[in-house]
């Protein structure tokens, strides 16, 4: 297949990345090793190319109403310069995508969406937009092709972000420096004359930032961050480490914990569903699930004996003589931080309490595991 390449493809090659296909993009799996890059992020800093992700601009007097109609979280909570994690659901409550929504200006919002869902999200948003514009104007623009992004994650990155982005602050959160951004805040600042956005979010469970910028300046930003960050032991990090890091903190990955047949309630993301904001697409089904329960629930589990790591699609069984097949693993790996197999999977709610013993079927043998509270790993552990 013809894969797409980000502006950093040449940089990945120069750094010796092992390249793989992800969502139609040719991306770095790792540069040195997944374990090495994972631990670098936990201890110092890692820099990820996330330019394959999508960006959608939603502007106009009807923008807030449109977003509150199509997304589950309450966008009224967003001050200028703030963002929130939220979900895009269809009428039966199933998830079309999970994403971040930032408010850049009074009537100016930016959505950061998954690379593998760009087409699906835009088709859905445009369909909703066609019936929405009757109420108040909303301008919807797909900026994905002209926009790139990098994620700077780790306990040391706040110490050198200002050296790469010295200011001034042109918009967004009311701070004077990028290092003053609090979680979920976003600002706009120039990089070599071009305006870029810096959000204080991440997908790793560590402190960090995501820099969203026009394609042309992504490579200079990447080079500058690596050069300045070198003194703080910043390393380039690939999708392999991105996956192990997010699994350790139990963040969902679309296509694994989330899909169109799974609701935010089943996934344990009810916190991001605002039932009190008025109607939104999927509300009826989600409210019914919240009131009456679901038939499946996302749990976190750890292997309890030395075993091969759990992996997606491995069957989950109960224990005992009459053990039933309970469900399937959706994410799993050997945790580089904890050195044990960890995973996420779906089971019926009656089997979902922490402490419940499970068996994971690995190559036709069953290995013991136990359900634990999320997350597996907490920052600074």
């Amino acid at each position: 297949m013809i894969m797409q390449r980000t502006p950093l493809f040449a940089a990945h090659q120069r750094l010796g990345a092992k390249l793989i296909e992800f969502g139609g993009w040719e991306m770095p799996l790792h540069y040195s090793s997944i374990r090495d890059e994972h631990l670098a992020v936990r201890r110092a800093g890692g820099l990820f190319d996330i330019s394959h992700m999508g960006e959608v601009s939603v502007r106009g007097p009807g923008a807030l109403g449109f977003l509150n109609h199509t997304l589950t979280n309450d966008a009224r909570k967003l001050a200028v310069g703030q963002g929130q994690y939220t979900l895009l659901c269809h009428e039966r409550g199933g998830v079309i995508d999970d994403l971040y929504a930032y408010r850049l200006g009074e009537q100016d919002y930016l959505l950061i969406i998954n690379a593998s869902r760009i087409d699906a999200d835009l088709a859905w948003l445009e369909r909703q937009h066609a019936s929405w514009s009757k109420f108040a104007p909303v301008e919807l623009r797909d900026l994905s092709e002209q926009t790139g992004a990098v994620a700077l994650q780790g306990p040391r990155v706040r110490q050198f972000i200002d050296a790469c982005f010295p200011g001034p602050i042109l918009g967004g959160a009311a701070v004077t420096k990028a290092s003053e951004l609090k979680k979920n805040e976003i600002l706009t600042t120039p990089f070599e004359g071009t305006a870029v956005d810096i959000g204080c979010t991440g997908y790793t469970g560590e402190d960090g930032f995501e820099v969203i910028a026009p394609r042309e300046v992504i490579e200079p930003i990447w080079n500058k961050l690596l050069a300045v960050g070198h003194a703080w032991c910043l390393q380039p990090a690939g999708l392999g480490a991105r996956d192990t890091l997010r699994t350790e903190v139990c963040y969902p990955l679309y296509g694994h914990e989330l899909d169109e047949q799974t609701t935010p309630i089943e996934a344990g993301l009810g916190f991001f569903v605002a039932f009190d904001k008025g109607d939104f697409v999927g509300r009826a089904v989600l409210a019914e699930q919240k009131a009456n329960g679901t038939t499946k629930k996302c749990v976190a589990f750890k292997m309890t004996d030395k075993s091969a790591p759990p992996r997606p699609h491995y069957p989950i069984w109960g224990t005992g003589a009459e053990a039933a097949r309970l469900g399937e693993v959706v994410s799993g790996t050997q945790s580089p931080s904890l050195n044990i197999g960890i995973g996420l999977g779906y089971v019926p709610p009656e089997f979902s309490r922490p402490g419940t013993l499970l068996e994971i079927e690995i190559r036709s043998r069953r290995a013991p595991a136990v359900i634990v509270q999320k997350p597996f790993y907490r920052k600074g552990q």
């Binding site: 120069r14 750094l15 010796g16 092992k18 799996l29 790792h30 040195s32 090793s33 997944i34 374990r35 090495d36 994972h38 392999g240 996956d243 192990t244 075993s307 091969a308 790591p309 992996r311 790996t333 050997q334 580089p336 190559r363």
Partner: protein
């Protein structure tokens, strides 16, 4: 389970500055090799089997190894062991036919040995050869080097 496609390429080493240098690959001359990146050390009518330095380099951090049971009879080319890295599980194919005599518990307790000492402490199993003539089908170190693009 799909066999992890170890990318065939010249064995290169990165220097500290990130430049790539082609160096003589670590492929001991006294061993024989399978196309699927296993090595064989012959001693009389028994052989020791492991995976090459190229293979462990492609896998990166090995986190778990599953070995064939002692007494199991293997045919050349048969999937007989599994190596798991953080990201994937890969099948290991027996380069030779015979009966498994010993499985190396050291790499079960410490999978990292496969990365740090693939031709020594990282060996997988010892096998009593049932068809010694099969050794003629294996690659020499020079042929294996060509195979991986050197």
């Amino acid at each position: 389970m799909a066999y992890f496609p170890l990318r065939l390429r010249a064995f290169v080493v990165k220097s500290g500055t990130g430049n790539r240098q082609l160096m003589s690959a670590n492929i001991p001359a006294e061993l024989k090799y399978a196309k699927s990146h296993e090595w064989v050390r012959v001693s009389g009518d028994t052989a020791t089997v492991g995976i090459t330095d190229h293979a462990q380099h492609e896998l990166t951090d090995v986190v778990f190894v599953e070995l064939p049971a002692v007494g199991r009879k293997l045919k050349a080319g048969e999937a007989c062991a599994v190596v798991e890295s953080v990201k994937t599980a890969s099948d290991i194919y027996s380069p030779v036919s015979g009966e498994v005599l010993v499985a190396n518990q050291a790499i079960v307790s410490n999978p990292a040995l496969v990365n740090t000492d693939p031709y020594g402490a990282g060996w997988f199993y010892k096998i009593k050869l049932s068809q010694p003539a099969e050794l003629g089908n294996l690659l020499s170190s020079a042929d294996y080097l060509k195979q991986i693009g050197g």
